[in-house]
Amino acid sequence: MADLPEVGVSPGPPTRKRIAVDPITLRVLGGAFDAIAQEMAGVLFRMSYSSIIRESEDLGAGIFDADGRELCESESTPMHIGSLPWYIRGFLRRIDKSQIKEGDVIIHNHPYLGASHTPDIAVAVPILWEGELLGFTAVTAHVLDVGGSYPGINADAFDMYAEAKIYNGLKWYDEGVLNEDLDRMVFDNVRTETMNRGDMNAMMAACILGRDRFYRLLEKHGSDTVMSSAYDWMDYSERRLRAEIAKLPDGEYVAPTAWLDDDGRNRDVRLRVETKIIVKGDHVTIDLTGSNAEVPTGYNVPFEGSLLVAAYFAIRTLLLDQDRLEEQVPQNDGIFRCVDVIAPKGSIFNPNFPRACFSRFCQCQRVVDNTFVALSGVVPDLVTAGNSAALHFCSYAGFIPEKGEYWLYLEVNEGSYGGRKGRDAMDAVDCLMANTRNNPIEELDMRFPLRCERYELRDDPAAPGQWRGGIGIVRINRFLESGAYSCEGDRHSDPPRGIFGGYDGLPAKVSRLGADGSETEIPAKVTGYVLQPGEAIQLIEPNGGGYGNPLDRVPEMVREDVLDDFTTIALAREAYGVVIDATTLDIDQAATASLRERLRAERGDDFQGELLTLVSTPHPMAVSPHR
């Protein structure tokens, strides 16, 4: 690949002829676009084979114009929403628009040509109407294996060629005819042929269904009305977001340095993330200058398909929070126009070809989290305290000689959120740009030679705050046969931040549990880590940060937390200044008042509580799970 284009170049405003659309038709078509995207996603996850798609819904589905401008995308996982425009622009560099025909089915996953990362394969079909290429319906979904060095996850890979097979704008079907050699090439070179085939069939079915639905809209309303409506809706979303950005005071807002654990090979070398938010008028720029240089492993971030998506997500989520809005504002091209990102070429957020960039989720999450921390002084009512803002994305795999294929289980382990003004945090949930579903334990045990032995809230208490932080999970998966474990986690060293006097949260931890009960801590990122039968992986996920001074929390709420084991009697006293009788579990109001007064005086205004030193295991303040 000699002539790779400059990254992040948008096609500019649409040039297609536009006509005025009456408000009622506009409303009608907006609803129809959304319904089509949802239906595409529904078909994909219901029909697919691998649990990462059908249970976790690690997918995106939508409709795009001929330059990749997004009309709509399904409400699945946010990491996918907004990446497809870049996939489309990427494969259009390989296939000229004039060569795109009815019945073509295009596959693409090139991370330096728009892909989010190589295992998120895109399937796209063109929308051709009266001889004109109006756009595409397209889906991305995470397939189990893409033929990299190790089964499933390849956090540590030498380069892009080692992490996956690369599909750069290939016609899987050419005018409706299967390209048999390509088909063999694709499926002969993955470890999970049956699953990949089933999943990619489902992806194609979803695209075709979406295209046919869109044809019906075109038949009924005509292409000028439909496309003009699409552009009107983009303008609408842009207007809504710009109006909110304009309310922020102009300025530069800097987050404290965040640290990633390591690159997956060079242990104990932490990686720096620097985030500056520049607000000017009705536009936001996220400047990551000063962040770490690119790394020699797969822990780099594709700029277009991943980093830009994170930036869109962060600004939109903060300023157009769906739960605070009465109406739906579609996540479309209009949102994307309001946000720019600066990441110097050669940094971890804009790597040089052919660096591997398989594992990029945690870095993106930290950019989002840093954005909130940076803006917390400007919009204190809208932000959360520090979130887990990472994830342990794990693969468990082994070879099945009878089938000649691998079993492979991909698992997205959830995190937790920070507290927010007026509400306690969300516990044990996919954080920020992750929004998958967990795999049922009963399903997992029956399908794979694994046994889940524990899945509940971790034993440690929530980060104290006027509004407490969220609690992560503990999970134990035991191998019943030997197999390989790979993971691209993070956040083992730098806990989520408390804000406005709330305590910092707790970092994550992963261990190997021996059959004899021994526990050995292992790094967040490992690749092809072999486990013997009877050995297990234990994952403990971060607790989010607290919001506001815990001395301001209503004592009765602290007592409720004690009853539910969200905190302990000892921590109630030490952090919240609430005195609870260990026998009756009643609050001693007088003692609480005087303790709070004393703590307030002692702590002063700049107090920053830290939970980690209070709960280092074994510690009397750790919450017992069953009591």
């Binding site: 109006a243 989520t317 769906q322 927010r420 516990d427 998958t436 009963e442 029956m446 509940e456 539910d564």
Partner: protein, 728 residues
């Protein structure tokens, strides 16, 4: 479903549907051919009060004593409201050690993608609080074998802790209990010994099916609503028996079956979606009286619209992973009804970005539409219908509520007309059209997009609002015509009288079609599993005093392609499990898969994840009554007044037309009314626009048909309107 019994002695029956605002009642005397309908205000604090007084009044109207009643059927939202208002029992849970927080974690997915402010309902409003979720050390493995044996002493001590904590109900939820219930049953026994007063909800009894979160949630909900629903059902039953009703009460379930008070009190979770389903059942019945077995039902109320579809008079069930009550998963058989936030109270406005919106927010009953003059100032759908001249103050709800047209118009002007630069009538028509579109879209989701051809269906207009919207919707969707039943507002209550006793029993199987073909032992196992469920089903119906000759047992397989994770529901044949049976299973599964997802994979193996037996105890059917015949022209007295109303002319132009207003009760069989016309009745208003024709059939149903021109225009109409709009 509609078996009718000659010489049945169950002739005098009442159906009672309790809604949020009104309780609808219908009395039917099959022998005398009498039908009387009645509406009373609901009494939300204790719904049985309003219901009992309604029954007393209805008996007086019918000139009978309650003791003369043969059956009382009841559809209730009691269970649903407990969940939505989150005021159920204090529930304790005994679960497997290591899994205390399955209900807290749920599927670890947020309801919204772009929100930091959202709450996770299962955490913010838990069904079982964490302090009441206690664990015991035990484990059944994936083969159903005991990996860690249960310790009685530990169980006993945990049960006593729950008793001390004064929980009212205990949910028992252990992993893999659907494969081997031995541990759960042991825990159940110990709860019965130590804490007999607790309401018990055991997962292997309530829902022996895999996927722990969905199972625990369902079983937890069962415990959460259990004590109150059981009390309500019992009190209601006793009140009726006290009045002399010998058979007590029968209740509608979410699966459109009828349950006895005893069965309902044991598994109250089955009552959770009782309400909207009766409307679909009533629609099927109405369709049948008009000779139409294929119906799409649209029930429009104040805040929402319910959409159902039935082919060949058969209800469709929802996918078990889509069955939710409020934000909580309830994996129980539920008739497929979709609800959207579009109704008479839906509020219209122009949002901050200039987009025109209608709903889902609703003005509800209080303050209600602006025209009610009770302080509502926002423009609602009802206000729009008044501005269009379709709802007339003097004819609305028999004049019981005064309508202020001036307030309706002012609200529309302020919130929609002025911001969009439209006249009052244009804005009103816009509000109507946006709602019509939402309904059309929801109907298409339920029909065309699931492979049903709307041209084979009629649209049954139900609820106070259905007949206002259906004429406009019919050509857009492409249904044959609209059917407005005699009492559209009371179709749900009527539906109660047309259902059978239905129960479903379920077990997990995992048999592969290939395995069944190859292995006689596998066939024997599956056969035995079905037989066991059939025996349980027959026993349940015997308990309900259903005579054996009235019992029908249907087998269902929930199947998927090997490797898939979602099952589809396939009706399978009775009889021996042999090559023919297996071939039929596969053929039917391929067809259903193709209809749902537009693809089939003949070469792939088919797996039966769960098996079910649906047990139907046939109840006496409901005979339609004929109305007196007349000529094509209605009697002069039927036409109450003539007034201006606004309609859309071909090309999208708004026109004012002199329109006749008719009284429904004055219409006779054979009457034909050409649109524009409006037909009013106590509980509803039917709009017949220009180009549409309403005909009264022998049973009093109104059939609203439309001309070919309208049918053709429906396809191009919107494009033309848009082009016209673009031109100026």
């Amino acid at each position: 479903m509609f078996t009718e019994f000659e010489g049945s002695n169950q002739v005098r029956r009442i159906g009672v549907d309790v809604g949020g605002t009104f309780t609808d009642l219908i009395y039917v005397d099959d022998e005398a051919g009498r039908v009387i309908v009645h509406k009373t205000p609901s009494t939300p604090a204790d719904p049985s009060i309003g219901t009992v007084s309604g029954i007393t009044e209805l008996c007086e109207m019918a000139g009978i004593k309650p003791a003369d009643l043969d059956q009382v059927f009841h559809g209730t939202t009691v269970a649903t409201n407990i969940v939505i208002e989150h005021d159920g029992a204090r529930v304790g849970m005994i679960t497997t050690q290591g899994y205390r927080d399955i209900l807290h974690i749920a599927r670890h997915k947020k309801p919204m993608n772009f929100s930091l402010w959202q709450n996770l309902p299962w955490q913010a409003f838990p069904i079982v609080r964490r302090r009441f979720r206690l664990t015991v050390n035990e484990r059944i493995d994936k083969n159903g074998d005991i990996l860690i044996p249960l310790d009685d002493a530990e169980v006993r001590s945990q049960v006593l802790r729950l008793k001390e904590a004064q929980v009212e109900a205990v949910a028992v939820c252990l992993l893999f209990s659907f494969l081997n219930p031995v541990h759960e049953q042991r825990v159940k026994k110990i709860v019965q010994e130590e804490f007999p007063e607790a309401f018990l909800s055991v997962s292997s009894d309530v829902l022996p099916q895999y996927r722990e979160y969905e199972r625990f949630s369902t079983v937890g909900l069962n415990a959460f609503v259990g004590p109150r629903v059981a009390r309500y059902v019992r009190r209601f039953d006793e009140a009726l028996r006290g009045m002399g009703v010998k058979t007590g009460i029968h209740l509608m379930t979410s699966a459109a079956g009828v349950a006895t008070p005893a069965a309902a009190a044991e598994r109250p979770v089955n009552l959770l979606m009782s309400g909207p389903i009766a409307g679909v059942v009533g629609g099927i019945w109405a369709g049948r009286t008009a000779g139409e077995p294929n119906v799409i039902t649209l029930d429009v109320g104040g805040t929402s619209a319910d959409i159902g579809l039935a082919q060949d008079g058969k209800l469709r069930m929802k996918h078990l992973l889509d069955t939710k009550v409020g934000p909580y998963q309830a994996m129980i058989p539920m008739v497929d009804v979709d609800t959207i936030g579009a109704g008479g109270g839906s509020i219209a406005y122009v949002d901050a970005g200039g987009i025109f919106r209608v709903g889902p927010r609703s003005a509800g009953a209080d303050p209600g539409p602006a025209a009610y003059g009770r302080g509502g100032t926002e423009a609602t759908a009802t206000d729009a219908l008044i501005a269009l001249g379709w709802l007339r103050p003097e004819l609305f709800l028999g004049g019981r509520i005064e309508l202020r047209e001036d307030l309706a118009r002012a609200a529309i002007d302020e919130h929609v007309g002025k911001p969009l630069g439209l006249s009052t009538e244009e804005a009103a028509m816009g509000i109507f059209k946006v709602l019509v579109h939402s309904m059309v879209d929801a109907i298409e989701q339920a029909s065309v997009r699931k492979g049903f051809d709307p041209r084979e269906f009629v649209l049954v207009a139900e609820g106070g609002g259905g007949p206002l919207f259906c004429s406009e919707i019919a050509p857009e969707v492409g249904v044959k015509h609209v059917l407005v039943p005699n009492y559209p507002g009371i179709t749900a209550a009527l539906g109660l009288l047309t259902t059978d006793m239905v129960y479903e029993f379920v077990a997990t199987s995992y048999a592969m079609a290939s395995g069944l073909s190859a292995d006689a032992a596998a066939r024997t196992t599956l056969q035995a599993q079905y037989a066991k469920l059939e025996a349980e089903a027959a026993e349940q119906l015997a308990t309900d005093n259903v005579a054996p000759e009235n019992v029908v047992l249907q087998r269902i397989a929930e199947a998927r392609y090997d490797g898939q994770g979602y099952e589809l529901r396939v009706d399978v044949g009775p009889g021996a499990i042999d090559a023919a049976w297996i071939a039929e299973l596969k053929a039917r599964f391929h067809d259903i898969h193709e209809r749902e997802y537009s693809r089939r994979f003949e070469e792939a193996d088919v797996q039966v994840a769960n098996i079910r037996v649906r047990a139907i105890g046939a109840m006496p059917g409901l005979k339609p009554t004929e109305v007196a015949a007349g000529s094509a022209d209605p009697v002069p007295n039927a036409r109450k007044l003539d007034a201006d109303a606004w309609f859309t002319a071909p090309g999208g132009r708004l026109v004012k037309v002199m329109t006749g207003f008719y009284e429904r009760t004055e219409l006779l069989a054979g009457n034909v009314i050409e649109g524009p016309a409006i037909i009013t009745q106590f509980d509803s208003t039917t709009v017949v626009p220009p180009g549409f024709t309403a005909t009264v059939d022998r049973y009093g149903n109104l059939l609203v048909t439309y001309s070919d021109e309208i049918a053709a225009a429906a396809q191009s109409h919107s494009a033309a309107a848009a082009a016209a709009a673009g031109a100026h």
